[in-house]
Symmetry: C2
Subunit: 140 residues, 2 copies
């Protein structure tokens, strides 16, 4: 499985009705390779090559999230993280090490019964958030 090229990113943007710009392509390149969800600041550091404005970055992150190109991840750190949202890498949850901040994907999701229960209670369009934290092996 090889990485997507700029060309793929361009068609991705086109499919979503978004214009292709240097910042957006660079953003997709970085996030496509990321193993863990990245903060705006981490992204900024990796974007040194491309000139861009902070506001533009946040606008792009927001637009991409709305277009389902990215997921905005909240791990209770006081800021957001962003990750690619593609078929290879769909809905999942994380655990973050409270010491070294390493983030891993966790291989389970909220049990179906929970959703069923809430549906019976009359809730529609239910979604959930779940994340874990702890001290990882290396930090023990």
């Amino acid at each position: 499985m090889k990485h997507q090229h700029d060309q793929d990113f361009e068609s991705l943007l086109r499919d979503k009705g978004l214009k292709s710009t240097p910042l957006r392509l660079a953003l997709l390149e970085i996030l496509d390779l990321a193993i863990s969800p990245m903060t705006a600041e981490e992204i900024t550091h990796r974007l040194k090559k491309v000139s861009f404005d902070r506001a533009t970055l946040f606008r792009a992150l927001k637009t991409f999230t709305e277009s389902q190109i990215l997921n905005t991840v909240d791990l209770g750190e006081g800021f957001h993280r962003y990750e690619r949202n593609c078929e290879l890498h769909h809905h999942h949850h994380h655990i973050i090490c409270t010491s070294c901040k390493k983030i891993e994907v966790v291989p389970f999701c909220v049990p179906d019964e929970f959703k069923k229960f809430l549906t019976k209670k009359g809730y529609r369009q239910i979604s959930h958030r779940m994340d874990f934290s702890g001290i990882c092996k290396s930090c023990t």
Copy 2:
């Protein structure tokens, strides 16, 4: 089951090594009666009778959370909510209606296997967050 009185709150504070002040007592009174976790703003409204400063409120909320008198709740709204943390009302999770913002407690928690799995992976002091959102019956 009757509500705690100021006197009980005073001993609660004493037990935690905290000083008893008008604001703190008023805060405990309000939160002890609250059915859902409240925002700092909601609390401020209910505190009209007592004069206090915003910074002091946040300091009290922080102190109380550190002393386990309160839980700080994050439902991804962009601000925090606070709720009493007592034996009658321990660890639990919420669902918030995305339309009317009503919050309910949900009668389940993350399965034990999840924690076991993460423990086997080498994680210690694991904690979790889980919350739901959806459109409630009344808002359908």
